[in-house]
Structure formats: C-alpha cells, structure tokens
Amino acid sequence: MKRPITLNVNGVARTTEVEPRALLAHVLRDQLDLTGTHIGCDTSQCGACTVHLDGRAVKSCTVLAVQAEGRAITTIEGLTPKGGLHPLQRAFWEKHGLQCGFCTPGMIMTAADLLAHNPKPSEAEIRHALEGNLCRCTGYQNIVAAIQTAAAGR
C-alpha cells in the first residue's frame, strides 16, 4: 500500500506517496523529477545512481525510499545549493572527465564523498574510491585527473 513520506532532498522537504518497495532511485527520478540520478544496473555495481544520504555516498537503487525518510538526501542537482558549478563539476569539464555523461552524476557524487573525507587522495586512493562507479567511455584516466584537479584546487 502506498503511504505518504516526506523526504528532505537538496534541503527541501518533499512529500510524496510511495509503496514501501519503491527504490529511492525510482522515487527521485519518477516522482520528484530529479532525473540527474541515473540507473545503470540492477546489482548495485555501477554507481550511476549515487546520491548522498546524510552526507555520504550511497547507491540510491539499493536504498528504499522509506528507509531514507528523515535523512538528508543530496542529488547531483543539489550539489551546489546556490547554483553554479561545484569544483568537481568544473574539474570534470576541464579535464574531459566524461563522454556520454551517463555515469557522471554518480561519479561526481562519489568523488565528493571521497574529497570530503580525504582532501588530498593519491591516484591509487582515487581509483579505489571509484570501485563502485563504472564508466564505459573514458577509461577512467581523465576522471582520475579531474578528481586530482579538484583536490588540488581545494
């Protein structure tokens, strides 16, 4: 049965009706129109759906919307609350860290978590942190470079 829930998304309380089985990724995309969060797999591997839950990167396809009630959700659309580009977004643009762009929002959200807790990661640490984000276009090299650039600019 559907039930009303209130989700705190990008600093705004949003109320919507969901079934308990609804995945957070689906609710964000289909009900809250936040389609920057993508879905690229069904086994929690690709990370395209990465958002922040209480400031930490999680895969929104592996969280039920009802589980997220009462917690702070940040999506790619809310990464810079006042608009403009986040340093990571600028760096991805600068370093050609994306091609088709489908994995990019998730990639950036994971990188943001990494840099928030490890401001100057080594290349190996960056690659390790990206284990849960798959990209089929770039070969990762420029993604790593972008994250290094964003880290250097902090």
Binding site: H26, D42, T43, R56, C61, T62, N133
Partner: protein, 282 residues
Amino acid sequence: MIPTSFEYVRAKNLSDAFKLLGKHAKVIAGGHSLLPLLRFRLAQPDTLIDIGQLPQLKGIKKAGGGMKIGAATTYRELLESKELKALYPLIAEVTEHIGDLQVRNAGTIGGGLAHADPAADMPPVMLVLDAAFLLQSKAGKRTVSARKFFKGPFTTALKPNELLTEIQLPAPPKRTGMAYASFEQAASGYALAGAAALIAVANGMITRAELAFTGLADTPFLAPAAAKLVGTAGDELISQVAAAAVAGVEANDDIHANPVYRAHLATVAARRALTTALGRAR
C-alpha cells in the same frame, strides 16, 4: 529491478522488532544483502523490519580486553574507529575491500554476517579472531561462537525469531599478527578464494595460529591444519600447512574458477596470509 510488494516497519526498539519476526518477515539494516535479492524477486518477504536506525545496535565499544560492535554498525563506521583499528587492524584492512565506497557507507557488519555469503570477506576474519555473536529474541539472548555460526551457504545458526545484535571480539593474544589475502572475482569483487590468518608469537615460537578460508567451499571455515604451526618458528612449515589446509576440501566450481584453480588460489592465499601474519607478529 522492482521488488514484489511488502510491508515496511521501522522498528522503534528491539522488542518491536522481535514481535514482527517470523517466517515471512525479513530484517533489513543497510539493506545491501537483501535489496539485491528483492530486486530480482529471489526473495519475496511479506514484511521488512528496518532495524538500521536503532541506536542500541550501533557503535563500537571496548569490553574487557576486547571489543563489542553493534550489528547495525556500518563498514564505514568500522573504518572510522581508531580504537578498533588499533586492536584489530585486520578488521580495518578487510573492511576496506568489502564492496565499494558506497556499499561500505550503507552496509552493516551484522547484515553481512547474517547473510552468510560463502565468499564474503568478513566471516573468515571473525573465525580467526574467535568472535562470538549475540543472538536475541523475544525469549532472551544467547551467544554463539562464529565458529558455530556459519552452517552452509547463506545459512547460519540464527533462528527465524532471532536477531544478530552484537559482535563480540575477545582480546587478541599478545604479540599477534593478523593478515588477509584474497583473490577477487573481477566483476563482483567477491573472493574466488581468500584466507585470514592470525598468529601469536612468544620467544620466537608460534603460540597460536588460526587460519580460515572464504570463497573456497560452500561456507567459510576454520582450517585445523594451522595448529601444526604452534610450537614451531613457522617459516618453512607455512607452505606445507597452507597446502594441508586446502587438501581434501571440496572446492567450489563456477565460470570464474574451477575447483583445481580455486584450491590453488586458496593455498597461495593461505601461505601469503600466514607469512604476513607471522611477519607482523614478530
């Protein structure tokens, strides 16, 4: 990708959760073991009981010479505990390789252990550390040794009305070295074969040696062969012990590794883990 319908209840406290436990109810904390199954409809519970937010299931605290970890503590929280890392460096080392950054942020140690995936990284660590698990139900509580907990693939000593609430780690012996070596399946990151080792040394001689495997057989297990190292200096014996520990085990067979290769990898992992552990103990 869309689970079948179920009811969802966020437990307010443990007794709330116990009331709902039953055959067609499933417990969810981080959800990272269960949700993948739900999405493929390989699990179809009627009710999900969310215990992920219960404060009494969270946290890491010292207890005697050892530590206690709340079952709903996330892997990320394990990694952030300096005390845990100081006493059980192996836990931190292994946790860093569980899943990926996002999975570690949400997945819980108790959830993973209760799921009992035969190729998970944490069970062999629990086996060599001789951890005990606190299982609670409406009727009361009991403590089960990790060594009696893993019964088979995805099968544990947990009864349908019980919850795993706490992981209890005994004090590690003095001058102990611990290590984990594994070979990951490239796609899933699960261990094709992995081995955890714990070695304690006194006066240059091994006083305790523990070795456990994951990924190798249908459930993680402790290898008795490690005991042969006790009373020796280790070194030359390690290769023999590693081979003996794997010999006779019915190794898993899948598209990623046949039993011969898997057993070989397990032997290599055991040797490497024992060697590193011994080095660290000294």
